[in-house]
């Protein structure tokens, strides 16, 4: 693969490279025009999801500008970047959570196993069963622990009998590393758990419907360091079975859990590549500035 040079995705990018000057970069580097064409390795072999030329508008605001990226199987990709750079917005495009926002408009193509998820025939309910999501703030349903896990399989009709459901609940909680802590109190409310346990409950809830991709939107930002470490271990284990996309503000976390890292800046995907390379040898000036802590 052309890892040494900027990857150009055919048929999507305009023929002339689009160059923009970011306000932040402009301030720190007067007179220098910073090009924000994506550099690094955008594509991977056999991607589970791939985005091509995605633009998102919130009303008049151009939140995501022409982003193309592949999500690999059985791997963790981290989205990093300063606040408001659009990484969460882009994440929410991947399971069409932006549909719930009236003013949001998404253009471009995002495919899951080769199928366009924004296709008219694509059912959004089915999509979300295949692309699960874990949110920034743990948000278990105000129901019992059991009901939290059982909800997904139940609405999607994945299980026929109560015994099967019990099994799904148990395996999901085991995969999320929560089983031993809650097996004696499955009927207790999920909201009564600690923050870290709640977040693992949300992860267990997401994997109960056996998705292909799990999207995590800053899953540890509301947790203490110990709970964060547990979630990070969990993410590493889950990689065996799922593709994981994680948005994080914590660069150490991105370096620890991910295999690939994508750096977003003011709606542009600036650089994407192997995590080691992005952190040790960033190719783009903006990436370097952010990683070395010069801004952001």
């Amino acid at each position: 693969m052309a890892t040494e040079m900027a990857t150009k995705v055919d048929g999507v990018r305009p023929s002339t490279p689009r160059a923009i000057v970011s306000a932040a970069a402009d301030e720190s580097l007067p007179g220098e025009r910073i090009e924000t064409r994506t550099v690094g390795q955008v594509t991977v072999a056999d991607p589970v999801m791939s985005a091509r030329g995605v633009n998102v508008h919130y009303g008049d605001k151009h939140a995501i500008k022409d982003v193309s990226i592949d999500i690999g199987r059985n791997a963790v990709i981290a989205f990093i970047g300063p606040s408001g750079c659009g990484k969460s917005t882009f994440l929410r495009c991947l399971n069409r959570m932006n549909d719930t926002i009236d003013s949001a408009r998404v253009d471009g193509e995002i495919t899951l196993d080769g199928q366009d998820i924004y296709d008219r025939r694509q059912d959004v309910v089915q999509l979300r069963a295949r692309v699960g999501m874990v949110f920034q703030k743990p948000n278990p349903f105000p129901k019992s622990i059991y009901e939290n896990i059982a909800y997904g399989p139940r609405i999607h009709g994945l299980v026929a009998h109560r015994a099967d459901l019990d099994e799904v609940v148990q395996t999901s909680l085991q995969k999320a590393g929560l089983w031993d802590e809650v097996k004696d109190r499955l009927e207790h409310p999920g909201t009564g758990l600690s923050g870290g346990q709640q977040q693992r409950l949300c992860i267990a809830r997401a994997i109960a419907v056996d998705p292909e991709v799990i999207l995590m939107d800053e899953p540890c930002s509301a947790l203490d360091p110990i709970a964060t470490a547990r979630i990070e271990d969990l993410i590493d284990e889950l990689r065996q079975n799922y593709a994981i996309v994680i948005v994080t503000h914590n660069m150490q976390q991105a370096a620890r859990v991910s295999q690939r890292t994508a750096y977003f800046h003011l709606g542009d995907l600036v650089e994407v590549g192997a995590t080691d390379q992005v952190f040790t040898n960033p190719r783009h000036k903006l990436t370097e500035d952010y990683i070395t802590g010069r801004f952001g």
Partner: protein
């Protein structure tokens, strides 16, 4: 340099110390305002309750007079057939009069007799008839009965007539006073619990008037209101809050709902008169129409409170459900509604309580008529508690004063029960998240 900073710090501290006293004074003043406001409010409530209860509790008691009744066979059943139809038609009033004459044999003059007959309520006749029809063997026997006193005697016994006034200014003259005192001395006058107040409908005679008709009318009207307004209001709120696109049309609808909540209730009465009675031809004075009118009036309140309850459900719950692949309807029915129900119920009950106390719109649709029968169905003519209060308050008889307050007590008891239910439901269904 450091001296200068020290000096500045000192003066800053002094300034703070100076300002501090002013701040604490302002705080104390502010608390005093609050306390005064609360005390004034409490004072008014206490005054209201004290006034109503002190005037109204006597409505739950009634004066009775003991008389020896002779069920004379020649009056009741001159033919001797014991035919129920004949017994029902017999002249029971004559028996009451006879009993009174027997009590006061000295009264012979026509006008005085008429006055004597007046100390017992007209209901006494019916009491005797009921007893005889229930047990025809009473004919020809004697019985000592406590018969309902007339309202002016009731007022005298309850101490509402000033004996020191000149006789011409009293509703009870000296002769009547003498009779009652004589009866009283012999233990022939008693004040007992007024069951009739709860079991009978309205009457022109205060001692026979009760709130049963108004209570039933209120219950039937509220039943219609609740059955219609809660489902319609909740459905409208859920659609507007969860499904409707946010555009100019929904904005207009929202503004209009808020405006409707502020429309004077009598306007809804006129609307009901024009629409339900004139156009659809529904009967006048019926709880059905009353309920429909109150539904129109309550709907905006229920929609607004239900929308507030839905808005209070944290968006993270919706996101969680959407993220799991729940459809919008599943999200609402499985997650949002259960969390919003306590708030919706509270809103609905507050709306109902308002509807219970409403009289103006019901005046327009004829529920202000004098109706002596207790309504049995949604289309029977009826009145409601607040209208009953209004009707009695505008009646001239002295005895209606206490009945007005008595009806208000019943109305307040209703409201207390409903608000208690709201508090109970709220704590029962409330879930934390």
């Amino acid at each position: 340099m450091s001296d200068a900073i020290d000096a500045r710090a000192r003066t800053s501290q002094q300034k703070v110390a100076l300002g501090l006293r002013r701040r604490y004074r302002a705080e104390r003043r502010f608390r005093a305002y609050g306390l005064t406001a609360v005390s004034v409010g409490l004072l008014f409530v206490v005054f209201l309750f004290a006034s109503i209860i002190s005037k109204g509790y006597t409505a739950f008691e009634q004066t009775f007079i003991r008389l020896d009744v002779d069920y004379a066979a020649d009056v009741l059943d001159p033919a001797g057939t014991r035919d129920p139809a004949a017994l029902a038609d017999a002249n029971y009033l004559a028996l009451v009069h006879q009993a009174l004459r027997a009590k006061f044999p000295g009264v012979t003059e026509r006008a005085e007799l008429h006055k004597l007959y007046g100390i017992v309520s007209g209901a006494a006749e019916g009491t005797l008839r009921e007893r005889v029809l229930g047990n025809p063997r009473l004919v020809g026997s004697h019985e000592t009965l406590w018969l309902l006193a007339d309202d002016h005697i009731d007022m005298l016994v309850k101490g509402n007539v000033d004996r020191n006034l000149p006789a011409s200014d009293r509703s009870v003259d000296d002769q009547e006073l003498g009779w009652i005192d004589a009866l009283s001395a012999a233990g022939g006058v008693a004040v007992r619990f007024n069951l009739k107040f709860f079991t009978s409908g309205d009457s022109r005679e205060p001692e026979q008037a009760g709130v049963r008709g108004a209570v039933m009318g209120s219950l039937l009207t509220l039943l219609v209101t609740m059955v219609l307004s809660f489902p319609i209001g909740v459905a409208a709120a859920v659609y507007l809050e969860e499904f409707a696109p946010k555009n100019r049309l929904t904005d207009v609808i929202e503004v209009n709902i808020n405006n409707l909540a502020a429309v004077p209730s009598i306007v809804f009465g006129l609307l009901g008169l024009a629409m339900f009675i004139e156009f659809f031809g529904l009967p006048r004075s019926a709880p059905l129409v009353g309920g429909l009118v109150l539904t129109l009036m309550t709907l905006p309140t229920i929609i607004i409170t239900s929308r507030a309850a839905l808005k209070a459900v944290p968006p993270s719950i919706r996101e969680a459900a959407f993220g799991m692949g729940a459809s919008p309807v599943q999200t609402v029915t499985h997650h949002v509604l259960p969390l919003a129900v306590p708030g919706m119920l509270t809103g609905a009950i507050i709306g109902m309580a308002r509807a219970l106390g409403e009289s103006a719109p019901l005046l327009m649709i004829g529920m202000v008529a004098f109706i002596a029968d207790v309504p049995k169905s949604l289309t029977d003519p009826a009145t409601v508690l607040p209208v009953q209060v209004y009707l009695w308050a505008s009646s001239p008889e002295r005895a209606f004063v206490e009945r007005t307050s008595g009806a208000i007590i019943v109305l307040l008891a209703f409201l207390l029960v409903m608000n208690g239910a709201a508090v109970y439901l709220r704590s029962r269904f409330e879930r934390r998240w």
